[in-house]
């Protein structure tokens, strides 16, 4: 069964393209004000594009597919064909959609901008000028609305605008009328920024955009030159993506996630579904390091952050690590937007956590002990614990991300922090260490967050390992909706009727299936790759997986941390992280 985030962005490609269509349509406002009849011609051209696209998509996918991208193509093309006979406009639409888009595989798979392709073909037959727009105040709404679209591919956009403006400046023609008439913002904000055909490499984008602008304005103010220059830029972008793929530059700073309101404020009372036993607290002073370690092992303490590994084994690995400096990092980040139980523990069990830390420090002599959390206010831990506040971004709680930030140690691929002398434990694991060592209590219970996604509320619940998930839901939030379980809101699966609490179950939720519409219309926005903490080209690898090319995707698949960010942001509603996880499991079982 698939794993997926239970929340996802509200935006989709269709939303984005609909706004873009509206923005591009507004460039016709001066004409429509002067001659309302011209609206009809515009509507007819857009309708022709929609019909053609729907038909081709129906043939390709055997079902109706949203054709709003074709409407955008028609809107971009319209200024070039409005002065031509109607049949030329229809020819342009056919060239744009068939030659520019569908022969490459459809939306998002095309190398060349469809509208620029059509403009180039039409300019071979008709002398088309570059002064396509009537300078007028009526252009203002279009300019304002199209400007934000430069953010889709800022570097080519800025490059093109700068290139055109610079060429006009050096030829003495730079003024507001020229900027409007030549549609500099039109080309720079909504045409060259087409994410499927423009590189996201900053240097190539800036340079390519600038060259496109300069060549067009300096040598010849014709649409043929501009469309050809854009097509060459598209070809260069394709080559850059193939040979010097760089979907993200610089340090990854995580993403901000929006969880349903109300979830973060957990009910103050913890619901305890476990049987309470009688335990006597033993002071740490009466126990030696070996006895502490033995109690941790004997009571089966495991990593409660989601990994479920044996804590005793982890401590032993740290002890055996051939490193001079040893670190203890306590992870209280809880960066998943749905989890609240670690926060509850830090607020309500500080004494026990402090004793747990002390017990660990008696086993290993750590140079530095840190506790990381999103909010450190109100935490009163002993001075030897360095409390570090981290940004509320996702997935900052992932070991790989914070270890290198806190220590100077670079954990090589194939190794883990424990092998480098760094003991990373979740807050709840430290609490379990306290119980195992001081109360001699088995680690057979755990705290978890139970979410009610229908009324948007959360509870902290203590449960016994092996308890049926559906029963817990019934006892805490009541039977409603479907039951999901997993590491958090960002990594969940629909729970089977008989599924029980395991070592890795951090979160339980009652709610509805998230809408992954698995649209075929990926526009190549690149958000999935930009948000990937592992620096994976997610779109490309998801495609390889979809085509069964597991070997080609293997390296990326094994690097995937299953954080779910790519599924959360995907504007085509594709569960990309689910694909990666399936492929990872397939790779692992192949290796066994």
């Amino acid at each position: 069964m698939n794993t997926y985030p239970l929340i996802r962005t509200r935006w989709s490609n269709e939303h984005l393209l609909a706004v873009l269509f509206f923005a591009v349509s507004l460039y016709q406002l001066p004409d429509w004000v002067a001659s309302p009849v011209s609206i009809l011609k515009y509507v007819l051209l857009v309708a022709a594009a929609l019909v053609l696209d729907v038909v081709i998509n129906y043939i390709r996918y055997q079902r109706p597919v949203c054709a709003v991208s074709a409407a955008v193509t028609a809107a971009v093309l319209y200024p070039a064909v409005k002065g031509l006979p109607g049949w030329a406009g229809l020819l342009g639409i056919a060239a744009a959609l068939i030659v520019g888009k569908h022969i490459w595989g459809g939306t998002g798979k095309n190398i060349f901008n469809p509208a620029a392709t059509a403009m180039f073909f039409l300019s071979l037959a008709f002398p088309l000028e570059l002064r396509l727009f009537e300078p007028s105040y009526w252009l203002l709404p279009a300019l304002v609305l199209s400007f934000p679209f430069i953010a889709v591919r800022p570097f080519p956009g800025v490059g093109l605008i700068a290139g055109m403006a610079a060429a006009l400046f050096f030829t003495g023609g730079l003024n507001l009328t020229a900027v409007l008439a030549y549609g500099i913002l039109f080309w720079g904000c909504v045409v060259i920024t087409d994410p499927a055909t423009a590189t996201d490499n900053p240097y190539a984008g800036l340079l390519g955009g600038f060259a496109t602008g300069v060549v067009t304005m300096y040598f010849d103010h014709s649409l043929m030159v501009l469309s050809l220059a854009i097509l060459l830029f598209n070809a260069a972008s394709f080559a850059v993506a193939r040979h010097f793929c760089s979907s993200r530059q610089g340090v990854f700073e995580g993403i901000r996630l929006k969880a349903p309101a109300g979830i973060k404020a957990a009910a103050a009372e913890m619901i305890d579904l476990t049987e309470k036993g009688e335990y006597m607290e033993t002071g740490l002073d009466s126990l030696g390091p070996q006895q502490i370690l033995e109690r941790i092992r004997r009571n089966g303490v495991f990593g409660m952050g989601g990994a479920g590994f044996s804590t005793a084994d982890k401590i032993r690995t740290v002890l055996q690590a051939d490193t001079e400096t040893k670190y203890l990092i306590i992870n209280g980040m809880e960066c998943d937007p749905g989890l609240v139980h670690d926060k509850w523990l830090m607020e309500n069990k500080q004494r026990e956590i402090t004793i747990g830390i002390e017990a660990l420090r008696r086993c290993v002599s750590f140079k530095r002990t840190c506790l990381i959390a999103k909010k450190t206010e109100g935490l009163q831990l002993p001075s030897f614990v360095e409390v570090v506040e981290m940004p509320d971004r996702y997935p900052y709680g992932a070991e790989k991300l914070f270890v290198s930030k806190l220590t100077e140690v670079n954990v090589p691929a194939g190794s883990n922090p424990a092998q480098q002398g760094i003991l990373v434990l979740n807050v709840q694991t430290v609490y379990a260490v306290y119980e195992a060592v001081c109360l001699d209590k088995k680690a057979d219970t755990r705290f978890m967050t139970v979410l009610d996604l229908i009324s948007c509320s959360s509870r902290v619940v203590r449960v016994k390992l092996g308890e049926r998930l559906h029963e817990i839901i019934g006892k805490t939030v009541g039977d409603k909706g479907m039951v999901f379980a997993g590491g958090g809101l960002m990594q969940a699966h629909a729970a089977d009727e008989q599924e029980v609490v395991s070592k890795t179950t951090n979160c339980l939720a009652a709610g509805m299936l998230p809408r992954y519409k698995e649209s075929t219309q990926c526009i190549g926005c690149g958000l999935c790759s930009r948000c990937c903490p592992a620096g994976i080209n997610v779109r490309k690898n998801a495609e390889l997986i979809d085509h069964g090319k597991l070997q080609a995707a293997k390296e990326a698949v094994l690097r995937c941390m299953s954080c779910g960010s790519c599924s959360y942001v995907c504007l085509a509603g594709r569960n990309l992280s689910g694909r990666m996880l399936d492929a990872k499991q397939a790779c692992k079982s192949e290796a066994e």
Binding site: M1, N2, M482, M512, L513, Y516, K517, E518, G573, N575
Partner: protein
């Protein structure tokens, strides 16, 4: 053949036959709408095993119990066989998504073997927004 209404879905369980991973968005919206209305839904697909976001049962023996009402979304050519199978397993009422799924022959078969049958999109009963409008024009009582 009767018009669908909430009364058609007696009991609080529905068997969803033909839950497909290819029509993910459609199937999950029906699943969500039924669940929202308090029904326990058992999705079933006897062809595909993987790619689902929920537990999908492959055959009747896997099902923890067989509900009395089934919603069928299979290809027309498979509908008659499915009706017989559903009857054998104790299903009493079947809702077919549309007349492409259940032609007159299939509906006649239902009548012959004593299965109450209806044709219509369940979203007319369980959905909101545009689906209510659809229900209004189709004369479906919600």
């Amino acid at each position: 053949m009767e018009k669908i209404s909430k009364d058609f879905f007696k009991g609080n369980e529905i068997l969803f036959v033909g839950y497909s991973s290819k029509q993910k968005a459609f199937c999950s919206s029906i699943m969500n709408a039924m669940t929202k209305n308090g029904y326990k839904v058992y999705p079933m697909n006897n062809k595909t095993k993987t790619g689902f976001d929920v537990k999908v049962y492959q055959n009747f023996s896997e099902l923890p119990k067989v509900p009395e009402t089934a919603y069928v979304l299979v290809k027309g050519e498979n509908a008659r066989e499915m009706v017989k199978l559903l009857k054998e397993n104790g299903v009493k009422r079947i809702l077919f998504q549309n007349s492409k799924v259940a032609d007159q022959d299939t509906l006649n078969l239902c009548k012959e073997i004593g299965i109450e049958a209806a044709v219509g999109c369940p979203m007319m009963v369980f959905g909101s927004g545009m689906h209510r409008l659809h229900a209004f024009f189709a004369g479906v009582k919600r």
